[in-house]
């Protein structure tokens, strides 16, 4: 090897290592910041109680409203998105597969939907709510977040279905299966581990999103009891507490951030493990 090629090799190896280190450093720094600021405020009380009077001024209580609200919202939205995404993803891969151009168009359209900022979903849903005279509610939040995460879920499912070999499809049809049977009995089973990953990915995106629920789900100090109650969410809980001038309240925001990060991390890891098992 010439000297130049040797240096080139060395330079890019060092560059790769540096970039990788930078990414790890940023993640570690985020975790360190929220843990160092929030750990002292993290207690059983904060996890298990609704905010009491003057909570945002340093009063007692916890963020149970936001934890429960976020779970309700994300689980509801994931179920809703799943109900829509499963047939769409199967339809794309069973029926549209013959129409190559249309297929590319539909995938592009879904990717565009994926890329739309969540505040746009929130604003869009809000205008609809105003039109129908609806209040902020858990139900409205679920629909909005469901719409936000459906394209993600569809494309994630689509990517899983794309990996199914054409031979399996041929095997299914040659046994006399209809398209519907092929979709729901063969493709669904084959793709199931990948679908679990897709749902968890979308769930993780849904639970962490603040902008789409800002106008739609509202905010409250209570755990919602039905779909028409407004609901608090962890991202908004963090937002409101961080806005407080009182340091104790700010630290509680970091405690909430620990909770949210922990949830998202657990979901990501579960999703990865499920995907590997496939």
């Amino acid at each position: 090897m010439t000297l130049r090629r040797k240096w080139e090799e060395k330079f890019f190896r060092v560059l790769t290592a540096l970039v990788a280190l930078l990414v790890v450093f940023v993640l570690a720094h985020i975790l360190f910041t929220i843990v160092s600021k929030g750990a002292s405020s993290l207690s059983w009380e904060i996890l298990s109680q609704e905010p009491k009077g003057g909570f945002y001024m340093g009063g007692g209580g916890g963020i149970l409203n936001a934890i429960a609200g976020s779970f309700y919202l994300a689980i509801g939205a994931s179920i809703l998105a799943f109900v829509v995404s499963l047939p769409v993803a199967l339809f794309i891969n069973i029926y549209l597969i013959r129409y190559h151009r249309l297929l590319i168009g539909v995938r592009f359209f879904l990717d565009v939907l994926w890329g739309i900022p969540s505040i746009v979903y929130g604003a869009f849903a809000f205008t609809i709510m105003i039109f129908f005279g609806l209040r902020n509610s858990l139900g409205a939040g679920i629909v909005t977040v469901g719409a936000l995460i459906a394209p993600i879920m569809i494309r994630a499912m689509d990517e899983v279905l794309k990996t199914i070999p054409i031979g399996l499809q041929e095997a299914s049809y040659s046994l006399g299966s209809t398209k519907t049977e092929t979709a729901y009995k063969i493709f669904f089973k084959q793709a199931l581990p990948g679908f679990a990953t897709a749902v968890l990915l979308a769930f993780g995106r849904g639970i962490g999103d603040a902008a789409s629920v800002l106008f739609t789900a509202g905010y409250t100090d209570h755990v919602p009891r039905n779909l028409s109650d407004p609901t608090a969410t962890l991202p908004l809980s963090i937002f409101f507490q961080l806005g407080s001038p009182i340091e104790e309240v700010q630290n509680r925001a970091y405690a909430a951030a620990i909770v949210l990060t922990f949830i998202v991390l657990c979901i990501s890891i579960t999703a990865r493990v499920l995907y590997r098992k496939k």
């Binding site: 597969i97 013959r98 129409y99 190559h100 070999p165 054409i166 031979g167 399996l168 499809q169 041929e170 095997a171 299914s172 049809y173 040659s174 046994l175 006399g176 299966s177 209809t178 049977e181 009995k185 063969i186 089973k189 084959q190 199931l192």
Partner: protein, 272 residues
């Protein structure tokens, strides 16, 4: 072309592809052409497949053997770029006419592919699947048939203690036999086999070949292969294809001992 009873219209080139006297025709292909966007894959195919015999489609890679096989149960529907014309008659019904329920036509044919693709379910359910979509619900009948067809492909003794485990855990040779059994369970008339031993080791290949020799008592078998020795071991009739056309068709002994065309002579010479 309109009358079913009329003698098939075939080009004069195709005259010697007619059924051999004394054989019962089961599948009748007339003037079949298959085109893709920029090529003609099959050219004017005329072929009569005799019942309870092994008909081997022989020829070099890319000559259209697999496409011809896939036309027979219309798996070509999956590929939008393929355009078919002509007719393929099974039991007097033209399956290309679009009048018939394609799922029922496909159940008349069991497909064995180059590589086995077990369904993502247990060994038992792989066989039961076809029965269930045929509308058979009674558990005792299903269990009975699962055993019968697993025995038919000599797999029963190997798997009888783990019928509920995933079929994807079987060895590839076992999977191929399972796929054959799965196809047989829907009680087809014809077995379509597309190079069924190409992914298998010699011993598993031999097992499959022996199965075919036994199965021809009950089924008509159409086997695609490019392995000359396999064709010689199994074939009753041979269809030699080259560049999308049938070059020669006849009883195996005639094709192998008395080839007429130069291209077949060359193929037989190189293949040895």
């Amino acid at each position: 072309m309109s009358s079913v009873t009329a003698i098939p219209e075939i080009s004069k080139d195709a005259a010697h592809f007619q059924v051999v006297p004394g054989e019962v025709p089961v599948l009748n292909i007339r003037n079949l052409n298959v085109r893709s966007k920029n090529a003609q894959i099959l050219k004017n195919i005329n072929l009569v497949v005799p019942k309870n015999k092994i008909t081997v489609l022989l020829g070099p890679s890319g000559c259209g053997k697999t496409t011809l096989l896939k036309c027979m149960n219309r798996l070509t529907d999956l590929y939008s770029e393929l355009k078919l014309d002509g007719s393929i008659e099974i039991d007097g019904e033209d399956i290309l006419s679009g009048k018939f329920d394609i799922t029922q036509i496909r159940q008349k044919m069991g497909l064995v592919m180059q590589r086995p693709f077990p369904l993502p379910m247990s060994i038992y359910d792989n066989i039961a699947y076809g029965l269930k979509i045929k509308g058979i619900r009674k558990k005792s009948i299903i269990s009975e048939k699962v055993e019968k067809h697993l025995r038919e492909v000599a797999l029963w003794d190997e798997v009888k203690d783990r019928l509920k485990t995933s079929a994807q855990r079987l060895s590839i040779g076992q999977q191929q036999r399972l796929c054959l059994a799965r196809g047989l369970a829907v009680e087809p008339e014809i077995i379509l086999a597309d190079e069924p031993t190409s992914a298998l080791d010699p011993i598993s290949s031999r097992v499959i070949e022996e199965e075919f020799l036994k199965l021809k008592d009950d089924y008509t078998i159409i086997l695609v292969t490019h392995i000359l020795r396999q064709a010689k071991r199994l074939a009753d009739f041979v269809v030699f294809m080259y560049y999308g056309e049938i070059v020669e068709y006849g009883p195996a002994s005639e094709i192998f001992e008395n080839p007429k065309t130069d291209i077949l002579k060359e193929y037989l010479r190189v293949g040895h």
